[in-house]
């Protein structure tokens, strides 16, 4: 994503979760596929959007694996989680994923999204920006 300056937002998630689709929905340029290590990926990024395929039998395992990885590589960056391909009444599935986060003391947003929808991907980005903004306000306010 390019603005006046540059900011790197990491889209993480298992194969088929919709990362390339998401970036294509937002980017001015076609996505370039490459492989880098997680360490390089997270370096300099203020936040991460994690995508999980909600219909996958391994959704919870995938989420837990990526949470472990992100906790190691970018422990302080805020995280927003998009769960794709869930039915509209999938509150229980989202609750299950949120419970997995809570067990790790992570208070990240978990949203059911359509990864093909630009509006939904912008919602994830907007939420990440709002969290960053609040953190920035906290820092400017100093200790209360």
């Amino acid at each position: 994503v390019h603005a006046v300056r540059e900011i790197k937002i990491v889209f993480a998630g298992p194969m088929g979760a919709g990362k390339t689709t998401d970036i294509r929905a937002l980017s001015d340029q076609a996505p370039v596929s490459t492989e880098v290590t997680n360490e390089i990926l997270c370096k300099g990024s203020p936040g991460v959007i994690l995508l999980v395929d909600g219909r996958s039998a391994t959704a919870l395992t995938d989420l837990e694996m990526y949470l472990e990885m992100l906790r190691g590589q970018c422990p302080k960056q805020p995280l927003v989680i998009g769960v794709g391909r869930l039915p509209v009444d999938a509150g229980q599935e989202l609750d299950r994923l949120a419970a997995s986060l809570a067990a790790r003391d992570i208070a990240a947003p978990v949203f059911g999204v359509d990864v093909r929808s630009r509006e939904d991907i912008l919602l994830l980005v907007e939420t990440l920006l709002c969290i960053l903004e609040m953190r920035a306000s906290e820092s400017l306010d100093g200790v209360h």
């Binding site: 994503v1 302080k76 509209v88 920006l129 953190r135």
Partner: protein
Amino acid sequence: VETTLYASRRRDRRIAFVKSPAPQDAKVAHAMQLLTSMLWAFKGTTRSAWEIASPEEADVIVFHADAPDGRLPEWQASGKLALEIATAPQPGAIGSRTLVYPFRAARAFALLEQLDAELESAAALNYAMSSHTGEFKRPAPGEESWSFVDALRTLRAYSGGERWWVVYREAEPVLWVKSGGVVYLADPAVVESLRQGTLQLHEMRMQSGAPPANGAQLRGGSELIWFAAYYTSNRLAVALSDSARYRIARWPNFGAIRPPVAQIRVVAALSARAVDLGEVASLARIPVTDAARTLNALSALGLLLPAESDTESVVTARAPATPTVNALGALLRNIRRHLGLGA
């Protein structure tokens, strides 16, 4: 004594076996017969007493997955539960009310107990909703009516069931909420007026009924209660206080709600630390009235928690911020402009 008490709590449940008019293979007949035999074998062991009855009288309708009866949606809308018998492996995940032939007695027994619990929950919901059906309270000038939000809260407090609750404006059905409040149906114009705050919910009435036949798209129930609560009042609801500090239990599923950015900012502020109404309005850069509305919406979803002590907010506020974010303010504004997001 325990036996007597248990027996006194036993209910009569009625179950109907619906034979499809279409020709069926022998497996279907065997599957239905197997369940009938099991019902006899289970007598006296299940929590409730199960009797075979007609579909009109039944609490549970048993049907074959490949040839469901056309009256099934109508029966389900009236509160009857459907039990599906399948005679071939299911392509997707097996439904929670499905028996795949040949099935074990233990599976059938567990399913009957599950259906019994669901019927009990539905009866409790019907009782709880009895005070919310009919006309909603019309507010006096200067007052607000929380009747509709309270009715939705009650629906969401009970899980499951196939019953629908219809919200009427005069004699016209406007929207349909499923038991459990997890989903609702409405046409796009009604959804838009709900989201804009122009739907006069306090002028409506609610009662149980059938879902619309036109196959409108299901929407997340959290959207309905969020915007209903948001537009009910620009002051905090009576259960909340201007001076108390709040935080969120967890984020709402904004994928279903799709709120404007100002409301996302409020929730982001409440996720960062415990704050009071004035502080959250200041952090989110919105009027206090808009912040109060968002707190009301969070509260209606059961996601707003009072801070346990003053210490909690101080400790959270002292959590280390990401070192790079201090310089982010202008950059975030540029990104928003670039992506066409709200200011």
